[in-house]
Symmetry: C2
Subunit: 205 residues, 2 copies
Amino acid sequence: MVEFTVQNLNGEEVERLRGVFGPFTDSVRELIDATIRTEVDADVVATAKAEIDAITARLRSAQLDGPFGVRLSEGGQMPWGNPVIGLRNPIAPPLVMRRSADGGIHADFHLGAAYEGPPGHVHGGVSALILDHVLGEAASSAQNPRLTGTISMRYLRTTPLGDLHTEARIVRTEGVKTFAVGHIADADGVTVEAEGVFITPKWAR
Amino acid sequence: MVEFTVQNLNGEEVERLRGVFGPFTDSVRELIDATIRTEVDADVVATAKAEIDAITARLRSAQLDGPFGVRLSEGGQMPWGNPVIGLRNPIAPPLVMRRSADGGIHADFHLGAAYEGPPGHVHGGVSALILDHVLGEAASSAQNPRLTGTISMRYLRTTPLGDLHTEARIVRTEGVKTFAVGHIADADGVTVEAEGVFITPKWAR
């Protein structure tokens, strides 16, 4: 059973928290990139480690017992811990999804060193992570959450790190099954295609 | 074209760098978890942000121009920037893959708050990220790198956050195509199955 946390936060409080944690999470994203690319000496790394451990201890002095979950507040869902779109998850690039007039969704995003597989290129699994999320979001709505049943990825060529685009849309719905397609593209066109079947979970039927 | 960086590091130097960057990256992983779960006040977050920005600036005072790449040294590949197995990538859980006597590979790993999709459960795309990597590694060897051509995931049930297992193996090879299968499991059994076709890239034929 999947449980959602309901918080009685009003829109103003949600915006205040967004202002506190959005910039902080962006700073941790920069630190991730620097962790991979730095060439400083061992003593500089050791000092940085001690400082980070002290910061983490202060942050942990008051923290949730478990993961962030998906919170519901005035104004809708707060999936802030999500590894693709989460405002508070430094692993997330993050993608900012927009809904098109035709009901599909799309996002422009940037992938740097933290998402590398083949040298200079996006890890195929990172493309799969993003496409799973984007197709799932295209297939879902606030009233009808849907989870991935099956999904297939087809890699047309390796995707370069840098500025990228993704989009997805529903093809059709049959009962509890919703069929969706989408892709990732760079400036020269589509690099990875995906199609999936998304299922309305039992607890949401 | 995918280019590998060749470094003339001997085994001792690789071990020294492992000792410097392994523990540091683990500290950044803890910071990521704390970033998602902390409930401290805004002023504590603001102070932490300023400190992290200063640490990042010091790390960036000497850094690679681009992403880490895959480096070749005495003792083999150093895919330290990889988002699934990378010693220096805080996004990576990281998985430590082991090769079985029959040629398949397997890993036990742990996923916490940073990998959450449905509340308390692994994001379906994170499972896809991991399976893409694990099947690709099963399909490859140092002599025969192979990249994902197509891959399909089948979600049997939602995967709980926590201790997990993954394994993959080659089913057959036909020319430049290698067929592999694998899965992710929790203590109660398989949660996600995958099958894929992996291609020997032109530059490695």
